[in-house]
Assembly symmetry: C2
Homo-oligomer: 453 residues x 2
Amino acid sequence: GTEFTSISVAEFFYRNRQMVGFGNPTQAVYSTIRELVENSLDACEDAKILPEINVIIRRESSDLLLIEVSDNGPGMPYQFVPEAFGKVLFGSKYGLRHKRGTFGLGVTMAVLYGQLTTNYPATIITKHGQGEANEFRLLVDIKNNTPIIEYSGPNSSHSIGTKVTLKIRGDLKRSKLRITEYLRLTSVSTPHAQITLLIDDNPPIQFGRYSKMIPTPPRISRPHPRSADIELLHHLISNNNSMTLKAFLVDTFQKCGTKTATRFLHFLSLNPNRTTESLTRDEIVRISNALRNYNGFDKPESQCLSPIGKDSLMEALNRLYPSASIKYEIRGPFEWNGHPTILEGAVVITDSTPAENPSLIRFANKVPLLYDASDDVLTLAMKRINWNRYGVDTNSQVLLFVNLCSTRIPYREAGKQSIAAIPAIQSEAELLFKTLGRAIKRESSSIRRSKRN
Amino acid sequence: GTEFTSISVAEFFYRNRQMVGFGNPTQAVYSTIRELVENSLDACEDAKILPEINVIIRRESSDLLLIEVSDNGPGMPYQFVPEAFGKVLFGSKYGLRHKRGTFGLGVTMAVLYGQLTTNYPATIITKHGQGEANEFRLLVDIKNNTPIIEYSGPNSSHSIGTKVTLKIRGDLKRSKLRITEYLRLTSVSTPHAQITLLIDDNPPIQFGRYSKMIPTPPRISRPHPRSADIELLHHLISNNNSMTLKAFLVDTFQKCGTKTATRFLHFLSLNPNRTTESLTRDEIVRISNALRNYNGFDKPESQCLSPIGKDSLMEALNRLYPSASIKYEIRGPFEWNGHPTILEGAVVITDSTPAENPSLIRFANKVPLLYDASDDVLTLAMKRINWNRYGVDTNSQVLLFVNLCSTRIPYREAGKQSIAAIPAIQSEAELLFKTLGRAIKRESSSIRRSKRN
Ligand SMILES: Nc1ncnc2c1ncn2[C@@H]1O[C@H](COP(=O)(O)OP(=O)(O)OP(=O)(O)O)[C@@H](O)[C@H]1O
Ligand SMILES: Nc1ncnc2c1ncn2[C@@H]1O[C@H](COP(=O)(O)OP(=O)(O)OP(=O)(O)O)[C@@H](O)[C@H]1O
Ligand SMILES: [Mg+2]
Ligand SMILES: [Mg+2]
């Protein structure tokens, strides 16, 4: 029949959980762990803490797993725990800056999947500020997209950070390889983090720390004029008291000082002293189109970004590939749809017999992407390069590590595994690969020269 | 800073519109058209009307397009138009049956994209039942995920069906080829539909009709026991008055008659006369696990499905490839997560010089999928077949048309372009391809024999 109704966003992602990385029992284990670990890393980063994260996986039966991730982070305010973990599209990372998390949905999906497959509530213990830690046991009310608090109370034995425990049904055997690969690559992109993996009574595996250098946390930035589509402009105008157009532009956007604002409004034949309140809809459209096309604005600022950086990335790769030849390159900041973006990469040339050559390892805001490589913009860009002309052949393995940093990563799906083919990103990626290609060429010829001598 | 907040699902898909097919100006034109055309086809199907759909694209400037799609369908109830077109996750297709639409978000994204890029509201005129047609001009309040009704009133000059008009910015030149391909393939999967494409003052292009046979509309089915995860079971129990366990099972699930229900409850050592109200949480978990593992339930019924069928598909393909050799195969109904599913396919062998061989053309619930083929389960299945042993070589082009019908298509992303690698679907697809492979082999050897004689 044709019954008109709406569903909650929790219901939507429950029905379509394959879109968020929970479509099969192998990927579900991986997704649960990566969502928890990325939350811990984001939290430690904000608080400028050297991350220490413990990942415990206990097999309670053939496919029933207990998963516990704990960190030494700053914890989180107690009044927000139920919604952060029990409501889809609720979080603290909606501002414009480089974070691993972006949607406000990751950990809630893990809680939901656990509840769905095992009926167990998630347990969250967190210590925030002074005073005792708080403990919560939560379920998700899927129909209403709201948390169900089964228990909440103080926990005096928990002394630091956040610990999340849940039970899920999953295929640990099939998932183990990718989980260890994910953690290994995390210590490449986040070398100052130390992550310990403990599976049943196996000896614990430690990943990192390769560096004690804590990166500067990214700072929320104002939007760049290039990002001002009609909706955003409407939103920015109505969010503020009425003010002069000139003051509005200088106040609201980065890279728009009083001189630039005056020139821009002159170019549009708009009186700088008119109020935002007095603008008609058509004028807003004109301003929006102009903001996105006027070439008088400088490139975006990058304090909202936090790339790995040459020293950190080289240090981590040197640990993993001690005898290899390693070169680093960086491009940007540029922008896509006004979002400040940096692309950084390193090429690692090792003596081993190559499998796929070159082999691409992708990161987005330092998050290793291990699934859905084929249609990723970085893969597409790599495939457009003629690697033969840079001397990539069957004599040595070439590994390309590429990290895309942006205030918004254009993921192709809500499972955060694959980046959409945005033209600006693809062209910058191709240029980065060509630069790395030239580095390979110089390196191989210098290796050959030194072999001859 | 760490400001905890939530965003609406409209805000989520506005920020991440590349996840719903609106990430670039070329795909946006395609997505707008396919969302509108699929809605018209779904509506005509329900009303058992031979679809007549007009797609008009008018270039108003280099990248400003007016897009108008009108149908001869049953229209829709006036009180639901604002939310259907102006609210994300609102629709009439949430019941368990085979429809092209599934999320309640497609057309709202098109409206949102139009408003975002041109500031124009969408205009919807629809005639439903007796009395005058109604006209609406709508925008989406993104922050609150609710429609903004700019105008609504009667329209006495509109006599049938639904007409949707919107303006978007897009790259028509780049999008044209894929739009015509999409419409051409739609007349393969929906041969009783007639679609006319009119771009500016070019001569109109007509797609179909190849058949006057109207398929039986799919009927909403009760869930199959295999689909009863804990959440669904909770939901089904609480949606009903308390009743005996036996009555609940027989009433709620397909393929569960009184005998099967009694045997099942006996197997679980549960008294069939206990009430659903009396069940503990642990008992619900036990029943859920058992429902999904007990092998006493028959395969799902298929009246909720509406495959293209051998006659219709052969008729359409014979029109498009008059001199080709065509064979049809069907598998199922089987189930994935309890969802009734059918896989049907046809192999077309033509004399032309092969490009990629074989070449795969994918459909999901009759919707042609033209993007993101690489990680699609159908592509993965096809790549696992050794096509040489079936005689697929450079002598003739082999085209594989495959349609996945299900009450739920496990799309990898909300843009409905690619199907997730669900194990049950992949294994059935591989078996279908092997069957089609054997058909190719028989066909090629019979062609060779007839050439010798
Ligand atoms: N270990 C933690 N320490 C501190 N805060 C946390 C931790 N885990 C989660 N949070 C808080 O809970 C919020 C919700 O987490 P969730 O993973 O659902 O969303 P997100 O990380 O913002 O985005 P994404 O969906 O992309 O992961 C976060 O925004 C963060 O504020
Ligand atoms: N041409 C039409 N004729 C009749 N009803 C329509 C038409 N177009 C849209 N509708 C109604 O509007 C609802 C919302 O459409 P929308 O495209 O947003 O969602 P959907 O088709 O249900 O799912 P999906 O997001 O997968 O397309 C539909 O469910 C349908 O009831
Ligand atoms: Mg997160
Ligand atoms: Mg639709």
